[in-house]
């Protein structure tokens, strides 16, 4: 077995037994970090691997959550079908929005993703009949797959862990596939990629759809966790926070979004208890990371490790 696979298995084992030694607060924090990690990893496909900076990714998190809450509240459809419909609906929305946003590139692409997400955020507030407006929507309860009750925090933590492992494994395989190599090529040399026979627009569009799909899964886990969705989940703040997770952790790396999510959530959970303007501290930390480790914490630590290691070996 490869060393990296062994480390991953060990890490999963540690995460799996963590609830046995932790209080409910930490278990819930763990679930939230994992959901944020899936969400950030989905955005990383666009930002890190595709070079497509989006400021509207929260749309897909929110739409999946809204769709789940709406179907569960207004129909008698079973939870599995509800989940599949919500994910399919969000992915189709991602396909449509991606088709629109990818008419442009660079800053114009970013502004289009922002504009589209602002429309959905506005609809969340204003389409009261559908979304319940500023009051938000409730999810009656978590599902019980195979009769397993997910209402307690430990069961739900394991449920989220399974999804996180599956999603991150799929994302890892995707970025290491020939398609993933093509995607990185379109990030670095789009013109050259066309001249090598690649349909650059199609590669980006498919990636946009896949990123929406994984964000939809994060949205599903989000609504199961909170059992409540409010329009602020689709706001620019949530999109920017995910972008921060990706950039701070290390964009274009698999570990980056996970490290970024851990950092942001720990800051949110601990610092906000002591410092009222915790966002300011987050800003300082972000500036510090960009100055000291421009590629992000993950690549920065890796670089430091190799430097020390090389120093020892020489």
């Amino acid at each position: 077995m490869k060393r990296s696979s062994l480390i991953n298995l060990l890490l999963i084992a540690v995460l799996a037994i963590l609830p046995l030694f932790s209080g409910e607060y930490y278990i819930n924090l763990g679930s939230q970090i994992m959901i944020a990690a899936i969400f950030a990893a989905s955005l990383n496909l666009l930002v890190g691997y595709g070079g497509l900076t989006s400021l509207g990714h929260a749309t897909y998190l929110g739409m999946s959550a809204y769709a789940t809450a709406w179907i569960a509240s207004h129909t008698t459809i079973d939870p599995l079908s509800t989940a599949l419909i919500a994910i399919a609906f969000t992915t189709v929305l991602g396909a449509v929005f991606g088709w629109i946003a990818l008419r442009a590139s660079g800053l114009s692409f970013l502004m289009l993703t922002l504009a589209l997400s602002q429309i959905m955020w506005g609809l969340g507030y204003r389409w009261v009949n559908m979304t319940n407006g500023d009051n938000g929507m409730n999810l009656p309860g978590r599902p019980s797959p195979f009769g397993i009750n997910l209402e307690d925090s430990t069961s739900y933590y394991w449920f989220v862990l399974i999804f996180t492992v599956i999603c991150l494994a799929f994302i890892a395989r995707f970025v290491h596939s020939p398609f993933g190599a093509s995607l990185r090529g379109t990030r670095d040399q789009p013109k050259r990629m066309s001249a090598l026979g690649y349909d650059v627009w199609m590669i980006r569009w498919i990636t946009f759809i896949i990123a929406s799909f994984f964000a939809a899964i994060a949205g599903l886990l989000y609504i199961y966790f909170h059992k409540y969705i409010h329009p602020t989940v689709m706001s620019i703040t949530v999109s920017a926070e995910a972008l921060l997770c990706v950039i701070a952790g290390g964009s274009g790396t698999l570990a980056g979004p996970i490290i970024g999510s851990i950092l942001i959530f720990l800051l949110k959970s601990y610092v906000s208890a002591f410092v009222e303007r915790w966002n300011m501290l987050l800003g300082f930390i972000f500036v510090f990371i960009v100055m000291v480790m421009p590629a992000g914490i993950g690549p920065g630590i890796s670089h430091l490790y190799h430097r020390i290691f090389k120093g020892k070996s020489s």
Binding site: G185, R192, L196, G197
Partner: protein, 246 residues
């Protein structure tokens, strides 16, 4: 005759300035064609219209008998055309082998695969290393582009183009910026390309380029002023006047 490349009445203007004016060009299979002209003559613009990077205002481009004027760049590549750039355009963060692998994948349906892992032990990597060996860079296959010299980068450009087994190869100033030794090396490389491939080359190094060319087209202000066999074009007074300077 089924031409490898046939350009008819190609016109392109930028804001009223005509950069390509009614160009006609026919390149036979396996032919070596040189396009020369002073700076700003419209040589690279002509290439851009042949590859599809620029849409012509009028005229048509046919590759191997098929009209490709309305096809996007990536679809034209699949007809058997390949190119290099005047300004080196490689994937600088990646290894030479990975650069060539991307080129090989470009014309391979495996590029669509999302769930098979692209491994260094795959046959496609071995194929890439073989191609790098053909341009004398096997030893540097696992070096990054930023770690090799400019001349070596030029050879990688050519390896990328050859990886696609083109029937028509467009070379845009492949000797630009190279030292004398490097120019000799790259010229030998170009001269060694199989006759299955027609080559159209833009080049300013006349000594090297004339040794390569069978036919020459001379452009000036976007117009073709002389076109024909090498010796006839070189001895034509118009060529002497506008390009060779005597």
């Amino acid at each position: 005759m089924n031409w490898a490349l046939e350009v008819k009445g190609l016109k392109k203007s930028f804001g009223g300035v005509a950069v390509t004016q009614d160009i006609f060009l026919q390149v036979a299979a396996g032919e070596r064609r040189l396009i020369i002209g002073p700076n700003g003559a419209g040589k690279t613009t002509l290439f851009a219209q042949i590859t599809g990077d620029l849409k012509p205002d009028a005229g048509s481009v046919a590759l191997f008998g098929d009209d490709v004027t309305k096809l996007p760049v990536h679809k034209r590549i699949h007809t058997g055309m390949s190119r290099t750039y005047q300004i080196i355009t490689l994937f600088s963060k990646d290894t030479l082998a990975h650069n060539v692998v991307l080129s090989l994948l470009g014309i391979n349906s495996r590029k669509k695969s999302m769930f098979s892992e692209l491994l260094h032990k795959d046959a496609i990597y071995q194929h890439a290393i073989d191609l790098l060996e053909s341009v004398g860079l096997k030893d540097k296959a696992h070096s990054k582009v930023t770690e090799i010299s400019y001349g070596e980068q030029r050879r990688v450009e050519i390896a990328l183009a050859l990886a696609q087994k083109p029937k028509l190869l467009l070379l845009d100033e492949p000797l630009a910026g190279l030292s004398l030794d490097e120019r000799v090396m790259v010229s030998e490389l170009i001269n060694g390309i199989s006759r299955d491939t027609a080559i159209v080359m833009i080049e300013h190094d006349m000594e090297m380029a004339l040794a390569f060319a069978e036919k020459i087209m001379v452009l000036q202000y976007g117009k073709c002023i002389v076109d024909g066999d090498r010796d006839a074009v070189v001895n034509d007074p118009k060529t002497q006047e506008v390009y060779l300077g005597h």
